[in-house]
Each structure stands twice: as structure tokens, then as C-alpha cells.
Symmetry: D2
Subunit: 271 residues, 4 copies
């Protein structure tokens, strides 16, 4: 995990050190994350600043770019890191969805979680953060390039020790047993229901993330006609972000109107 995020050693938590990630906040549209390294320079359309000037400075401090423009150095949150720093070639789940899913899956310290369809590791990173400091995410990803990118991404957060990614088609089987929960982000999850069933402990919650109505209906029909699953729920999470202009607060005109449907269920013993 990123040091500045979790350390409780008060003596050094506030000072920016070599190799720390910082979020340079210039204005609403200019938020830059980078690693501080002596000898480097941040440069943007509003001016530049040498990293050296940030070393030893407290988080939250106002600095001045070369142009005279003001900026603030903040410690990035996990959300900042993931959504600004991760390489993301795939469609991703948004924070609105991830937050909801973490509660649905009852993620918590020590849990062992299955993830199928790791993609760039966005949801993996959050799952890993919330099973720390003892749990583990077992990720199955069929594409080698995605699996590698995901591990590189997750390493940026220092969360790699909570994640094991396998380059493997999950339909061929899951190596682990008695897993506590699963997040399935695959286009055809009905194909792997038996494999999934065998990998989970009884009662384990599962979330499927599906973009289309057609998938939802097909999966629902499979789950609800099976004796292996119960408590099938379907929902969507919508996030309405507001424009924050003085005396003119209003919902943004352009909104992300859909990411995916969240379908959840729980494994029951089939006797």
C-alpha cells in the first residue's frame, strides 16, 4: 500500500519524500498525479515545477508554478491513483459500482476473493485494499497482456501481495476452494456457474457485472432455475455529479448514464 496512505507514524506522514506519489491540484480540470523524484520536473499547460521544490513540503501546501499559477500538493487517494494512474485498455467499473459491490460481497480484512475477468485491475485494486492486511484476491484473466498490466497497475499502490493473477480461462476450473466471495466480470457468466459454485464456500455472495439487458435476463433465468443459488438481486447504481460553479450549481449536462447492471446471488448447498 502507498506509504502516505496508511502509515500511522505521525512524525513523517505529512512531509513529501522522494518516491512518494503526489496529486498536484491546479484546478478542477487539472489534477496530475506523479511520483516525486529529485531531478525531475512536472510540466503542464499552466507552467512547471521542479520536483525538488516538493521534497520536505507538507501535504496540503500551496505552491507556485513557474507561471505564477497556484497549485496544491495533496496525497492521492486510492481512487485518485486508480482512475488517474492505471493504464486502462478495458471498460472499467466505476467507483459508484465498486463501493456498492464491496458491501454486497461483504469484503473485509482476511477474506479470500475470486475475481474473473481482471482486465486492467481496477476493481482488483479496491478488493485488495479491503481484504488487507491478511486476505487475498485470486484473479483469473485469459489475456496475458491484461494480466500483466493489471499487476503493474496494482503494484503502483503497493497492493501486489494481496493479489494473485492467473492467466487462465476460468471455465477450465478454479484452483482454490472455499473462497469467501466472487466478482465476475465476464460477458457470458452462465458458462462458468458450475466452476464458480465449486470454488466458493456455502453461503458465499457473488456479484456479476453485466452491461446489457440481454445478459441480465439470460443469467437471471439460469440462476433462478437452479437449486444452487438463491437471493438473486439485480440493481444499477447511477452517479449524478454536479457542476460546482458559484451561484450556479446544477447537475452536469453530460452524465455517465450506464456502466453495468449488478446481479448478485449466494451459493446454497444443493442437497
Amino acid at each position: 500500500m502507498v506509504k502516505s496512505d496508511t502509515s500511522t507514524d505521525a512524525s513523517n506522514i505529512y512531509m513529501i519524500k522522494e518516491d512518494d506519489y503526489v496529486l498536484l491540484y491546479i484546478d478542477e480540470k487539472r489534477k496530475h498525479i506523479f511520483r516525486v523524484r529529485a531531478g525531475y520536473r512536472f510540466s503542464g499547460d499552466k507552467g512547471f515545477v521542479d520536483h525538488e521544490k516538493l521534497l520536505g513540503v507538507a501535504y496540503g501546501t500551496k505552491i507556485t508554478l513557474s507561471s505564477g499559477v497556484k497549485a496544491y500538493v495533496l496525497n492521492p487517494t486510492t481512487e485518485d491513483m486508480v482512475f488517474k494512474l492505471f493504464k486502462r485498455p478495458t471498460q472499467v467499473i466505476y467507483p459508484k459500482d465498486i463501493g456498492r459491490i464491496i458491501l454486497k460481497l461483504d469484503i473485509g480484512p482476511g477474506k479470500r476473493i475470486l475475481e474473473a475477468g481482471v482486465g486492467s485491475g481496477v476493481s482488483t485494486a479496491f478488493l485488495a485494499k479491503y481484504v488487507a492486511p491478511e486476505g487475498k484476491i485470486y484473479g483469473y484473466e485469459i489475456r496475458e497482456d491484461f494480466a500483466e498490466m493489471a499487476m503493474r497497475n496494482i503494484s503502483l499502490l503497493g497492493l501486489e501481495k494481496y493479489v494473485e493473477i492467473k492467466i487462465k480461462d476460468i471455465s477450465e476450473g478454479v484452483d482454490e476452494k472455499d473462497l469467501d466471495a466472487a466478482l465476475i466480470d465476464l460477458p457470458d457468466p452462465w458458462r462458468i456457474l458450475d466452476v464458480l459454485y465449486n470454488a466458493l464456500r456455502p453461503g458465499a455472495p457473488v456479484v456479476f457485472f453485466l452491461p446489457t439487458m440481454n445478459q441480465v435476463i439470460k443469467l437471471f433465468d439460469e440462476l433462478s432455475s437452479s437449486t444452487k443459488w438463491i437471493a438473486v438481486e439485480i440493481e444499477e447504481i447511477l452517479e449524478r455529479i454536479y457542476e460546482t460553479k458559484k451561484n450556479a450549481i446544477r447537475p452536469r449536462v453530460r452524465m455517465i448514464g450506464h456502466t453495468g447492471y449488478i446481479v448478485s446471488t449466494r451459493k446454497i448447498l444443493n442437497m
Copy 2:
């Protein structure tokens, strides 16, 4: 924390034991949580079952009520426990909001979090779960009855060691310093901005949860005209739950259309 939730000792995790909480799932509208105790009996409109019959049974097992109706014994998630078991005299934040807020506040193991307006402890419980096993929630609640109810509620989850609730008007000051984040669920948060500022580490994220437009505008005006806060964001989370009827999947007609606006900001050094 509830044992069945976090234990990784595989030998006993699947068997229901005396004093465990179970979720008895009869159907979509009948989900009952209770503590298993020899000599007790669960009784509902679909029949009864003696607790004794659940002891030593695996989670996920199908049982038969006195009436012949089938039911399943599941281990409750934190969400199940909080929303079915907590006494809640106050308006609460919903899972859709809590999940989003946990990411916004960058909650994680070891964090020290301020909460003002604890109410019945719903959000406190989730914050506590996600700062475990090392962090702490410092809750300020002006009403003694709420504070006590909140602690009783949180104790149901075994999370009490991560929570300290003070019966105190937060406007009189926060005892802690350098807190990592804050969740403020008060009707007039503009009154406590200075106190809040002094309690937080530089860069710390804050979330305010506010039901009305009028509050949002007033708070936004205060925050955006101050030199102490930056990155003010406003959003809402909407959850659309679907009816899960075979061949007739549709969004529920009755929907929770609003809980509150999520206003967030970060503390900056005011120099």
C-alpha cells in the same frame, strides 16, 4: 467482528455454532436475522424452527420449517446485519451512499476517522469495518440516547474496539488531531468548519451528507470562498433495484429517489 465473517480457520467456518448470527432466507420478502441459541425457537408466518436444529449445520443448508416450507440458513453480511438488526431511530445513509463515501474518504486499514452525527451508528459500523484491524472511528454525537444505541448496534458486529463515541457537541472542539478523514452528517455543517479543519491532517478528505439543496448551496458557498478547502465536489448516488420475476424483469415501481447529496472537499494548508 463477527466470527463467521472473518475467520480463516477452515475447520469451523462452515458450521453454525451457539451464538452465531444467521440469516434465515425463506423468500425475497422473508429474510430473518437472529442469534442461534439452544432452547430458542424462530417463528414466523411461514412456520417455525427450533434453533437446536441449526447447530452444527453448514451455512448454505436448506432446512424445512414446521409448515413444510423450505428455507436456507446463510451467514449474514455486514450489510444484512446493519440494515436488518440495527435499531435505527434516525434517517440513515444507504449502502449505495456508504460504498461511495468509503472510496471518497479513502478509508482503509489503520485510518483514524472523525464522524460527526453518529445517529444509530450505521455508517460508523462500515467505517469501523474498513479501518480494522488497526484504525479507529472517533464519533461525536450530541444525543446520549443515540450514542448508546449506536454502541449497542456496533457491538452486534463485534466492531466496538474500532469505535469511540463521545457525547459531545462537536462545535465545542475535537479532542483528536491529525485525523485522516471525516464524515459529517449534521444539518448545519458550516458552523463547525473551523473545528473540523483543526482536527484533520493536511490534505485530508471530508464528506458532508446533506438532504436538501439549500444546505448544499450554503455549504458550497462557505467552502468555495474559504482558503482552507479545495476540490469541492457535489454528487448524488441513485440505486435502481429491479423486480426479479421470471420473464418479467423490470425496475421496481417504488424507488428510493433521494437520500442525500454527497459534498466532498479536502483540507489545504492555509498559508
Copy 3:
């Protein structure tokens, strides 16, 4: 059409006359519509008023109920009449949907419109209002009791001359030809696509109103694989109503989260 609604004879438009419908507005939750008749009395939980006292009074006037409570006499809009006065045993389309559908169907004076699944006549009434003073709605309704209720309802608005309702299964054929548009509110509209096609003029727009995802997918698959229809569109209209409390404006907690999906298409010549 209701006189008070459309008359342009300024000399008598503002005075309440015998047999006029009035909307008695007491407060947000007490809006009563009734017909003014000498000798009758309006009576509610906030007091009573004799109709006689309303005769000759101008619309918009403040009156005093027997209890001393104030009330206002307004002329009801078509929307007020339909949603407060119509007998409605069936699920209805809401104003949010009807307004959108009227534009989609290009309803206007003189148009001849097919409606299948008349129900209690709610949408029929609005269609009729907007084809007046020359057009006509041809309604097909299989249930005699609904058809009769619908005509009684529509007569309350004086719109009966723009409506002809047939107690007939539309799948057996439509008597009219070259209709300008159609509104289909049936559970299985894919069964009547050929009949529908034959009743419409080339290019005519059609709206199907469907509550479930399953219906939407089935209908879409039929329409998009046919050579008889083009420009298939699917949408939903959501209405978010706000609580209007001084200093506490907020979206209502309870919201109608779903009525139906609006699927539209246009007939093309199949050559």
C-alpha cells in the same frame, strides 16, 4: 372539451357556473375536483363549503371553509381531471410518458390515431385532446368493462366526439386504414405487428409501452429483423419530483422509479 378550458369568450370564462368542474386547492395534499351544482356541499377533513357559494365566483378566488381554513378554487387542467377524476382500475401511463409520447407520435390537430389497449382511457384522453378539433382516436379494447369505463372517463372531459372505442381483439384486424400513428399498450405486441402494419399509412410512427425488459427485448428482436419497420428506438422517462418545503427543497424520498419502456418505430413500405 371542458368549457373553462378552451372557451375564448372572455365575458364568462372567469366565473364559475353551474356544472363547471372546479379544483378546490386547500393545501399540497388536499386538492379536490368536483362539479359545482346548487344544493350540493363539498365536505372534507378541513371543513365544508356549499357549492352555492362558488357560483359566480371568479376562478383563482380564495374562499373560506366552514372551519375557517382557506382554500382556492381553480379550473382543473386536463391532467388534473384525468389523474384525479378518472376511474382507473388499470396501471396507467403517467404524464411524464404521455407528454413524450405525444411528441414521438407527432400527434396534432386532425390526426387519426390507433390505440390498442385502451384501459381506463387515460392516454386516450390526452391523444383526443391533441387531435381535436378534427382528428380521431380509434381505440381497441378487449374488455367491455374497460371500454365502457374509458368512454365514461373521456366524457367527463367532453372529448368523446374525438374517440371511438371498439370492444374487439385487435389481433383480429383493424377496421381503419391509413392511420397516422399508433400507441400500443399490450403485453404481447409482437403478436399484432402485421395487423398494425396494415392499419397505418407508410411512414407512420408507432409507440409501444412495455413494463418489462423481457418484452422490450422480444419486441426489439421482432422489429429489427423485419423489413417492415425502421428507426427502432428505446427509452425511458423518469420524473423526479421535489419536496417544496421552505428552506428544505429536496427530491422526494419516495419516487415512481419505473412505469414502462417507450419503444418506437416507423412503418416503411416493404418492397
Copy 4:
């Protein structure tokens, strides 16, 4: 009004004639409206077609572009015309809002309507269509260029005889009396409440269309503390459009998340 829209003369309604507007539907992203004139040619990225080939052809007919690509000639709806043909330099109200507003304002044949803030005439056109064949829209627009553009736009639909636009600041007074309803699309409507009041008949409904929360609160406070207005309501209309891809139906990712709040009220006599 456009001939092809309202004529009930069956003998010529289906054939495209010189000077008719047609909607050439090539595919979901290529819908072109133009006026058919011998000697002209439609040309797009998918090929061209000479207008001559469309004359005498029935609406709904499939034609072939020069490239071999198929297309359909449809008669445009008013919505098609307004949103594809109108010059629109200003932010406009969307169909979702207009449909709802028409019902709120109880627009119907013969009504005399005030509109303040005409802009490019988008809502004016729909109001005009629904007061035809006897009513009138009185539009007040402070900018001469907008007023002229609006009249040119409205003339495209043949609706100009139902509209009178005045280049005048409405705060200086409304010339008409006893108007049936008003649509106010101004940034500071609280400034003109007295003028508005004087122009309306008692009981008349008014809709204000406002983009920001701040405006809504300010207007609501004015209206609710006045003795001249009653039944203040606030709502928003959201339109969720779906992607219509075979086997992959889903809400569009990019959505118009906000246009404006609809605030409505009714004039009461102030005695």
C-alpha cells in the same frame, strides 16, 4: 403547418411533392431532413440521390443512393423538424421537457400563451402546434437576432400564424391580458413576477424552466412567500435512451443528465 403532417386529404398525403420536407433515413446516425426541389441533389458520405427521383414516390419507400446504399424517405415529425432543422444558437429545452410542460400548462386548441425568453423558438414551435388552429403564442424576446431566427425557424413548420414575437424586455410589461398560461425561460424570473401576474387570467398555470439549484431556491422562496401564487411544484424530467444493438440492448453510456428544473405554479386572486 407542414402539409404532409396535417392534411387529411387521403388522395395526396402519401406522395412526395415539390417543396415537401422529407427525412431521409439511412441509418441510426444518418437522418437528413431537406426540402425536395427538382434540380437539387442530396449528397452525404454514403452517396447521393437526385431530388427528382423522390418526387411522386410514396413516403416510407426504400430508395437506393448512388453508392448502392439503401435509405428510406419518411415524412419528418415536428420533433424531427425542430431538432434537425432549426438553427439553435441557444441552449434548448428537450422533447422530454416540452412534452411534460405542454401537459402542465394545459396547452390545447384555442389557448393564448405567453412565452418569455423565446430563444431560437424550439418550445414556441411546439406550443404553437398545440394551440392551433385558433390559439396564439405571444413571445417576448429581448434579442432581435433571436426573435428573427425564431420566426424563421417557426415558419419552416408553417406555424407562424399562431405566433407573435415581440422584441421587448418583458420586465417593461406585457401588452396582452387574461392569457391562459405562461412558459418563462429567463435567468431571473423573480424580477418579472408582477408583470407576469398582470398578464394572466386567474388560475392560469405558469412553468419556469431553470438550469440551476440556486435559481430554483430563489424563485421558490419568492413564489411561496407571495399571496399571488399557489401550488408551487418542482420537478425534473430525465430521459434514458437505450442503445439498440441486436442482443446487446443497454442504456447509452453518454446521457444528457440535466437540462433544467421545471418549476410550476398557478395565479390566484390576491384579495
